[in-house]
Amino acid sequence: MKRISVTVNGVRHEADVEPRTLLVHFIREQLELTGTNVGCDTSSCGACTILMDGQSAKSCTVLAVQADGAEVTTVEGLASNGDWHPVQKAFHENHGLQCGFCTPGMMMAAVGYLDENPSPSEDEVRLALEGNLCRCTGYHNIVKAVLAAADDMGS
């Protein structure tokens, strides 16, 4: 076992983990934050996307020990004081989901991307979300939601 210290959604967690524990399993099973989903389990689908030190990452392809010392944000960390993050609000208002399974990963990828590029074009949003798959093929409203969030955050 290895002792790690990870700050998740602003809260510091000290924990003992097996080196082979994947970050997504640490988040879901040890911290019981189950908003982060496991989809394809092969770094393709993006359902497990979180922010690691501010950048989007697929938590199924990171070892928990690699996150020692890192700041992690999961979908549970987006809202603050009961107010939704603009990206959450925009997904709600634009119906940026169908079954909802890919939604946490989509939103985390979007939050990471809008931090990098606050006023993207539609094409740029589509490219920025290429690492996130929606099995319902609901991409149109997802892209609309990210553009609406960008507008909201810029104004």
Binding site: R20, T42, S43, A57, K58, L63, Q66, G112, G131
Partner: protein, 288 residues
């Protein structure tokens, strides 16, 4: 899938990493971003006994402008490489390739050194390093050395790096004034290239004065299309270029798999070389 058990140590310096690897024996492996190694471990296709995490070694990170060449540290992520201002001229090829690897999440974590050390014949960076006559730098118990990209990739997932050695970076000649392009064909977004073509071209008023072509997934290692390069030199018209790209058939027969027959790969290579050369030359008359 969860990887088989392994020991894990985090190194805070290159020297410490080398000692840990030496002590760990032949089944010890360095871990950087883990975006090539962890997927293999999860499929149990790789079962290292010890991972030495080199991800926190700052001396292996960053892009340095050395005048006529650029040195890229092994831990520099694809995202950082894609945005590196020092990669000008022909060396801009490396940034273009990095920008197209995987997806944003993969580019945030995956590293140049990891991708190079992995030596996957279907990965994009090796062909680009080959086309630019780049050098791979290594550190090991016996000191440091550099190996030409042409000698580094020796087979599928096999490189000239010895057990206990760590890829510390690459040195890429800038080739100021040369243009570059990377064209890859894939069936779906994020797929490995069925064929990829890395081209650097020195386009002058009288046509192509020099060209270097690296090929992805046309063999067990990245390949240089030397016959095509020679045939391209001195050409300036589209018809001449199309004739030159047919020389790719002089290469050893490319592999066949569920995505493409050998004949199809050869066809793709010709189409993609022509496109890459036209793009790298930046000459509108040569575009399709």
């Amino acid at each position: 899938m969860i990887p088989a058990s392994f020991d894990y140590e985090r190194a805070s310096s290159l020297d410490e990493a080398l000692s840990l690897l030496a002590a760990g024996g032949e089944d010890a492996r360095p871990l950087a971003g883990g975006h090539s190694l962890l997927p293999l471990m999860r499929l149990r296709l790789a079962r290292p006994s010890l991972l030495v995490d080199i991800g926190g070694i700052d001396e292996l990170r960053g892009v340095r402008d050395d005048g006529d060449s650029v040195t890229i540290g092994a831990l520099t992520t694809h995202h950082e490489v894609a945005g590196a201002a020092a990669l000008t001229g022909g060396s801009g090829l490396i940034a273009k390739v990095a920008e197209g690897i995987g997806d944003p999440q993969v580019r945030h974590r995956g590293t140049l050194g990891g991708s190079v050390a992995h030596a996957d014949p279907a990965s994009d960076l090796p062909a680009a390093l080959l086309a630019l006559d780049a050098e791979v730098t290594l550190a090991g118990p016996g000191g440091t050395r550099s190996v030409a990209a042409a000698d580094f990739f020796v087979g599928p997932f096999m490189s000239a790096a010895d057990d206990g050695e760590i890829v510390t970076g690459v040195r890429v000649p800038k080739r100021e004034g040369w243009g570059s392009a990377y064209q890859k064909f894939q069936r779906r977004a994020q797929d490995w290239a069925i064929v990829g073509v890395a081209a650097v071209v020195n386009w002058t008023d009288s046509g192509i004065a020099g060209a270097a072509i690296g090929l992805t997934n046309m063999g067990g290692t990245p390949l240089r299309a030397h016959a095509v390069e020679a045939a391209l030199t001195g050409t300036s018209e589209k018809a001449q270029i199309l004739a030159a790209v047919s020389k790719v058939s002089e290469l050893e027969t490319p592999p066949a798999d569920e995505n493409a027959s050998s004949e199809y790969r050869l066809h793709l290579a010709q189409v993609l070389i022509a496109r890459a050369v036209a793009e790298a030359a930046g000459c509108p008359g040569m575009q399709r």
